[in-house]
Symmetry: C2
Subunit: 290 residues, 2 copies
């Protein structure tokens, strides 16, 4: 049998919950709920608080298994008895998180869906310190310049994880990897993939310390992506959805490669292009297991 | 100078527009506007009418260049003077389409965006007749079983176009390729890529007539995707985002292949997996031009 968390009195619901406590909330205007909703919808609020929201039991479970610091766990009263939910709640309480037992209206308000996720978690953002990037120990990094679409970013994080890349550097003014849509698209890989960030200026300085290849994918690249030499360490650079890499970034590359195209399409989706590149770079290293 | 279309009197706005005419509309409750909005948002309405909506000048231009039958062209009064818009309007009128000159409120209502696209077109759906699928003339087809996400579907259509595939077969209960989000994600490739549809039962019967390889991508595939033999003709089968190909579909394959994964991720995004497979299948055929 799974442990059943003790519940506080619903009458005390206006006050702040103590860490480790389970609290029932039925009002969508409760300040804690409004704060979680703000974290889910506003990048500014996420940045100020250094927190973000992950939705769904799979993501929450992945995050806790990867020891990401959890601040708040919210679950729907209707799934309270499910063993996986009770386990997640017990674990969150043991780590000092506030645990909220809420009704469907509250979950709908947080997740902005008629058919809401039944478990939602608030976690601390974790950024990889750029000084810890070590090409000797982690030879495959991906630099994403000014990427705009949270779904693309999340999908790229998922693919980077799948090929065993060592981390991602977000360069310049990119979309937020901790946006709900980005986190969802990672399918949990955000909890495993180191993510660093730099201004473009900082990147261009830092790049001088990178000892290996810097491969830029570019529509005007002259080298076929199948013919380039991918030796460790490699930094793969991908540009924006709209216009690719700008000139100051292509100038920082050791090779510009191009993925051939045969049809009427004038470009690939950025996440697809990154996937094709990553599987090419890892072509001689990935092993089929099982 | 670009031609300036003649305008009808705004007072006549309640009545139906004659084909080829330009009509001004400022009311979001105009029946023609409500119909376009319904086509943009409701699959049922699209299916009944056999029509769909494409948003944005690039898509509209691509569609008209590819000679897709246009029924209605809508543009914002504020872009009326732009040469590309005026040309599109003139072409649409010449093809007998109704042309609507509207205000921003109407465009916002149609596109459901605060920052709406300024040009919207209503086109006739075109489905490729399954009897016309000819592996001798078009050797690379892609079968998508029960695919759910319109963004993934649109991205796959775009990638299929980029590798020069010959067409896509939607199998079973899939998402609508003519949903606004799917059309947008194709970036115009929907106007170039033949799309057929079959029930799973029909597909399994039809598959017996396919003379070449039927490659299924599956987490339990035993052959490394890099080691399979891809000979013309090839039919690539991809399953759903959630659970991959069901058994009756894997049983219809000549080979089940798997894309290796190294990290914590348990699968790839479907559009990325399809992209990696298509570039592998076409590996020895695609040529870098330019």
């Amino acid at each position: 049998m799974s442990p059943r968390p003790p519940h506080t009195d619903a009458a005390s619901q206006a006050g702040p919950a103590k860490p480790g406590q389970v609290k029932s909330i039925t009002s969508v205007s409760n300040p804690m709920i409004k704060e979680i909703r703000a974290l889910a919808t506003q990048r500014k609020r996420r940045k100020e608080a250094g927190l973000f929201v992950a939705e769904g039991l799979k993501l929450i479970t992945d995050a806790m298994q990867a020891d990401w610091p959890i601040r708040t766990l919210v679950f729907g009263a209707e799934v309270r008895e499910q063993p996986m939910v009770a386990q997640a709640a017990a674990k969150a309480r043991a780590r000092g998180a506030t645990v909220l037992d809420v009704n469907r209206a509250v979950l709908t308000a947080i997740t902005r869906r008629d058919n809401p996720q039944m478990v939602v978690g608030v976690f601390e953002q974790q950024w990889f310190d750029t000084e810890r990037i070590d090409p000797a120990r982690g030879p495959l990094w991906i630099g994403l310049d000014t990427i705009r679409d949270p779904g693309n970013l999340g999908t790229i994080i998922r693919t980077a994880d799948a090929v065993g890349a060592d981390g991602i550097i977000l360069i310049g003014d990119t979309t937020d990897p901790f946006a709900v849509e980005a986190v969802r698209a990672t399918m949990g890989s955000i909890f495993h993939m180191p993510i660093a960030r730099m201004t473009r200026e900082t990147f261009l300085k830092w790049r001088k310390s990178w000892p290996g290849a810097v491969i830029g994918t570019h529509l005007e690249g002259s080298i076929d992506y199948r013919k380039a030499a991918y030796t460790d360490p490699t930094l793969l650079l991908m540009g924006t959805e709209q216009s690719g890499l700008p000139e100051e970034m292509t100038a920082a590359c050791t090779q510009l490669v191009r993925i051939p195209q045969a049809g009427q399409a004038d470009s690939l989706n950025l996440a697809v292009a990154t996937g094709v590149m990553l599987y090419e770079i890892r072509r001689d290293k990935l092993v089929l297991e099982g």
